[in-house]
């Protein structure tokens, strides 16, 4: 798979310099979180809503990045897991009357199982063939969701309307602000867990499988298990994102989750930066806001402008925004 990303992904060996760097990283993350907490009070509800979507996408992109960036398995169908997460949350809220906050972990669990099960037969497929298999999943998902047999649960083509949760009493927050903070909390949790996972043994196993699968196996890494698990975890993240996103939008319908969503997620991961955690955030901002920017620039052919943005980003930053930031930092340090 990609060779350029290798050098960017391997965590360095522990050292004194590293401890200082770690502290700097923590401070940086802390500042980011504080900024994220202040933001919703500075902008209107509409922007808060958009930012909530960015947060949800960033979780999905982290999930996909784990699979594609760190583990080298291409998925063109992650929109399907986003859909499963979204529908799980919607069905639980609509049919089982479950409170919204309980649906998120369940959506994640359901998607983990789905992802793992899909990852098992996909073990035999490499590169392009895996891409096709996941592409097939992404294309077929709307049709599956529309099927008569599931209609009672999914609402068929009419979809399901979700009731927007209210902020808890006494906090003085609007619904949008509350949802933002709720999603932000999940972002912090998921990113922290993901960061630990990728830093540790499993993360190294994932990267090893990506770069030298045969050598990894020879060293005792259970490639089948790690690959399937990665699929599962990646699906879990995307499912959680789907659930959070659908609560923000308050509506799920089969055609909201078509193949273009899967392609958009891949675009987000690559533009953000493969094999990078911060890349998920950059990517999420891109896929949420650039289409709007393109629309402003040209009413006649907005997607052509979007395509030009894609080209520009890929020419200037082939390793994504995160990769570019890394290069910049390295240059500045010299």
């Amino acid at each position: 798979m990609s060779t350029a990303a290798t050098s960017l992904a391997m965590p360095a060996a522990p050292s004194v310099v590293d401890a200082a760097r770690r502290r700097r990283q923590l401070i940086g993350v802390g500042i980011l979180i504080v900024a994220a907490c202040v933001l919703p009070f500075l902008v209107g509800n509409y922007r808060v809503f958009q930012l909530t979507l960015v947060l949800a996408y960033s979780i999905a992109l982290l999930g996909l990045n784990m699979l594609t960036g760190y583990n080298g398995q291409i998925s063109l169908g992650h929109g399907a897991f986003y859909a499963i997460g979204a529908y799980t949350a919607a069905i639980l809220m609509d049919k089982a009357g479950m409170p919204y906050w309980m649906t998120i972990p369940i959506a994640g669990a359901v998607c983990m199982v789905a992802g793992f099960l899909f990852g098992l037969p996909a073990l035999r497929l490499e590169g392009l063939y895996l891409a096709l298999a996941t592409f097939a999943l992404g294309v077929a998902m709307p049709q599956i969701l529309k099927h008569k047999s599931l209609e009672h649960w999914t609402g068929g083509v009419q979809g399901i309307v979700i009731v927007k949760p209210d902020a808890p009493e006494g906090l003085g927050l609007s619904q949008d602000q509350w949802l933002y903070f709720f999603t932000l909390a999940w972002v912090v949790v998921m990113f922290f867990v993901g960061w630990n996972l990728l830093r540790g043994r499993i993360g190294r196993a994932m990267v090893a499988i990506r770069d030298q699968p045969v050598a990894a196996q020879a060293m005792g890494v259970n490639t089948s298990l790690v690959k399937s698990l990665t699929f599962g975890v990646s699906a879990l993240y995307t499912g959680v994102a789907g659930a959070l996103g659908s609560i923000a939008i308050q509506f799920v319908a089969p055609d909201s989750f078509n193949i273009f969503l899967s392609i958009t997620l891949v675009v987000g991961v690559v533009i953000g930066g493969l094999a990078s955690i911060s890349g998920a955030i950059y990517g999420a901002f891109f896929i949420q806001f650039i289409p709007n920017v393109a629309d402003q620039i040209s009413k006649a052919a907005p997607w052509a402008i979007y395509g030009i943005f894609l080209l520009a980003f890929m020419y200037a930053m082939p390793t994504g925004v995160a990769g570019f930031v890394r290069i910049l930092r390295a240059r500045l340090r010299r």
Binding site: G44, N45, Y46, F49, Q50, L53, V139, P142, Q143, K146, G156, V157, Q158, G159, V161, G245, I249, Q250, F251, A253, D255, S256, N258, F260, D295, K299, P302, W303
Partner: protein, 412 residues
């Protein structure tokens, strides 16, 4: 020299005027009332349209609206105010629609939403706009749920309801061909299923016996040839074709090429001569039956019709890149005329409440592009502007209306 002060005189004149004014309030214009999005110089409307994505063929509707309002503004606007229609692309994707409509309501603060297109997109914002009390007018979809003033008092549809259309076909079949063996092709989405429901409801108990085969297709399918073959193979002698233009044309052509010559009913959305029948082949379209409620721009019988000539002049002057063969462009014109009528009726009270009130008070509003004998009516309990249609048969050249104008009556 004493300077006579005119001030007391002026004061006297002013109070006299005030007294006269208070005696006859109707002589002088009411003080203007403005809600969000309206002012003495401007009326802001908002809409989402699929300018990209699978339904992008309907993007021309939004473009025609822009052209129409430009024409209105060139001629002085409505009651002296210019109309500013903010039209955003949602790619027919409900999440995007939610985002764009929230922007229109919360950031751009439009007076009303006009002709937001598509059933899933509108379903996504249905509750939101009613919660925010924004007039959600003349939706560009025929789903039946848009005419529910009791539960959703701010939403009003426009199109002839899809279920009503299906029922018209069903009742006509029951009357003229009760022993028909019916095959149905429908698009596997809310639109297709809505018409199908109308057909089945209209056929009632007889439906179980009459419908011998159903087939669906997705908009991502390249052709519907396989479905047509399967439907033909069922031995049906009647074919109800519930499709969108591209697939409607494919179905018409394949049926004919396969030697299948059923009684072929095609739904209104796919009945455009220019967008469907000409590509399919006019000779292969002879005998098609549909319902219509507005004039087809390709229909030779309206060649010298004054309303049609006016529309063509408009297209040539304001919307040159629009396709004069595309019936969507005529449909969009009628909807724009209706919106202008509603705004005119508002006079100087441009609050959201009054806009809704006027929208629910259309009395026999006739757009000359509707079929003769048809007009639009709404009331606080009737949120379906279009409730009439006429069956028509294709002669190979034009759609020949037959039978009476059918009124579909108020729907739940």
């Amino acid at each position: 020299m004493t300077i006579v002060s005119l001030r007391p005189l002026r004061w006297l004149a002013a109070s006299a005027a005030l007294a006269v004014a208070s005696l006859s309030p109707n002589v002088f214009a009411q003080a203007a009332k403005y809600g969000p999005g309206a002012s003495a110089t401007e009326i802001k409307l908002g809409q989402t349209m699929p300018y990209s994505g699978p339904a992008s063929a309907y993007g021309t509707i939004g473009k025609l609206h822009q052209a129409y309002f430009k024409m209105i503004n060139d001629n002085g606007g409505i009651n002296g105010r210019k109309v500013n229609l903010i039209s955003l692309d949602d790619g027919y994707s409900p999440p995007k629609t939610v985002e764009q409509v929230r922007r229109l309501v919360e950031q751009d603060e439009v007076l009303a939403l006009f002709q937001t297109l598509g059933t899933p997109p509108n379903s996504a914002i249905h509750k939101y706009v009613n919660g925010k009390k924004v007039p959600h007018l003349l939706l560009a979809t025929g789903a039946t749920k848009w005419g529910d003033p009791k539960n959703f008092p701010w939403t009003m549809g426009f199109n002839l309801s899809y279920q009503s259309e299906g029922e018209i076909y069903a009742k006509w079949l029951l009357k003229t061909k009760p022993d028909a063996k019916v095959a149905i092709l429908y698009q596997n989405d809310d639109y297709g299923k809505d018409v199908l429901k109308g057909v089945k409801d209209g056929l009632g108990a007889a439906g179980a016996k009459m419908i011998v085969k159903e087939a669906t297709y997705e908009v991502t399918d390249p052709t519907v040839d396989s479905q047509i073959i399967a439907l033909q193979g069922s031995g049906a002698d009647t074919f109800i074709n519930i499709t969108t233009p591209k697939f409607g044309a494919q179905a018409v052509r394949k049926a004919w090429d396969s030697g299948w010559k059923p009684l072929h009913i095609i739904n209104n959305v796919s009945a455009s001569v220019g967008s469907v029948l000409i590509p399919a082949g006019l000779d292969k379209s002879v005998g098609l039956v549909t319902v219509q409620y507005y004039k087809d721009p390709n229909d030779p019988q309206w060649k010298d019709d004054p309303a049609m000539l006016e529309w063509r002049a408009f297209m040539g002057r304001y919307y040159k890149e629009g396709d004069p063969k595309d019936a969507s462009n005529l449909y969009a014109y009628i909807t724009a005329q209706t919106m202008v009528q509603i705004l005119k009726q508002c006079g100087n009270d441009l609050t959201r409440e009054n806009v809704m009130k006027q929208a629910a008070s259309l009395k026999n509003f006739k757009s000359a592009l509707l079929l003769p004998g048809m007009s639009m009516n709404t009331s606080p309990t009737d949120f379906f502007p279009i409730q009439q249609a006429q069956l028509a048969k294709f002669t190979g050249q034009l759609w020949q209306g037959f039978g009476d104008v059918i009124s579909t009556g108020a729907q739940p």
